[in-house]
Symmetry: C2
Subunit: 265 residues, 2 copies
């Protein structure tokens, strides 16, 4: 097996890009079905989002300010003034939908897209363009916290079913600047960000799943509130399908037909 | 039915973006299966390509020079010097693979990706981010011309099977500048570019398929030649899945289960 699948060409690997042949697509479907089984109360329909997003939408999330080095912005040679950015997290597409809709809470959206982050290195698993499947939750603060805790437990069970050894660790984003450091500290202190790490090579682990409790950060930014005016929180969990695939390949080989999957308990 | 599917939010429509819910994904699969049936000698496995591409690869194709207004380039706030572009045609991913491989000709690749073109308007069907399925052929000049003619005939049969009225017209790209005008004239005179147009609304037609005979233009640019040193040509045909879907919706409604599909003759 080559680094990112048999069909991948050297120039794609060097840039942290990947293509997906039929076997990888089958493997991704196996992963999707198993992830979906971890959310038994959620419709298993995934909405596919585009790889680009209006810049004005992402600007509301602070992503560009917090991660100026990762955040891809689109210009053309005749239109240097940018209007589009590259999707960095699939949930960014979801918040504008909630903003203008009558709310039925709690609500949960299942979304997938090709995401882009201009990572410094392209070591094994650290792609610049990668496929993310995300579950995004909107609800009252207590429901949001409960959903986050429940999804962490369900995801641990998911990785057991996949016979994949993972470690659940609290994490912080590598935020920049003084405000960023404060935010990073608060993420760790309040345990807002959790990651599931797995081996993608004998000496290399990487996050294959990431859970974020945003509290009121994004609902405030997008003006989302309950129809009775009550405060809403949001949370999400994202699965990096390429990384999960690499971890499964490392543990069980590249053919999903030979993966030792366990029935849901 | 809304313009680009029920689930789409106003801000996406305004920017020429679209999301795909489950019904649209089913519809796209129906289109893929029918397109694939038009290429009976070709393996029906599609390789998925990323929505971004190394800038150095696209620069070899002249796309950025010919379409500076359409061509999306990626920068970050800390790295203004661009290394990535947005995939404008899926076949751009294929040429570097041929370059460094021992050739078995003729060769054909089946590739799909989210493409981006910064179109001036976002009228019905004219998305900025859209899904393209492309068949790319590499072979001796006579084989290339024969394949092009054959695929035009097979695609006409495909649209008959889909019960979709299309018109096959010679076209030219809206190239810029003096060299561009010459190229556009040569495209029309030599009939290098053909498009299948279909109605996406009563008063609106748009290209749903586009065939290009590149002759030696791209094989030269990428240094692709036969192992005996002989000249190779390339050709491709691309299907705009979103546009094809809209045309089918206009003709037969949004539910692929009710599309009047005919068996391959």
């Amino acid at each position: 097996m080559t680094q990112y699948g048999e069909d991948n060409h050297e120039i794609r690997r060097r840039y942290g890009l990947t293509s997906r042949n039929g076997l990888m697509q089958e493997a991704f479907d196996v992963l999707r079905r198993n992830i979906s089984a971890s959310f038994p109360d959620v419709d298993d329909e995934i909405t596919l989002m585009p790889p680009v997003i209006p810049l004005e939408v992402v600007e509301k999330t602070d992503y560009g300010k917090l991660f100026p080095g990762l955040f891809g912005i689109v210009h053309t040679r005749t239109r240097p003034d940018p209007q589009f950015a590259l999707t960095a997290s699939v949930c960014h597409h979801v918040y504008p939908e909630w903003r203008s809709e009558v709310k039925e809470i709690p609500d949960i959206r299942v979304v997938e897209a090709d995401c882009f982050r201009f990572e410094e290195s392209t070591e094994r698993g650290r792609l610049r363009s990668f496929r993310m499947l995300e579950y995004v939750f909107l609800g009252a603060p207590a429901d949001c916290l409960h959903w986050r805790d429940q999804t962490l437990a369900n995801s641990s069970a998911l990785f057991d079913r996949l016979s994949l050894r993972t470690e659940l660790v609290t994490a912080s984003d590598p935020f920049f600047g003084r405000g960023g450091r404060l935010l990073a500290n608060s993420q760790k202190d309040e345990k807002l960000k959790w990651e599931f790490t797995a081996h993608v090579a004998q000496d290399s682990t990487i996050a294959v799943g990431s859970s974020n409790l945003h509290k009121e950060h994004l609902t405030k930014a997008f003006g989302i509130q309950a129809s009775d005016g009550g405060l809403l929180h949001s949370a999400c969990i994202g699965f990096g399908l390429d990384r999960l695939y690499l971890a499964m390949c490392h543990a069980h080989g590249a053919d999903p037909a030979h993966w030792p999957l366990r029935e849901p308990g």
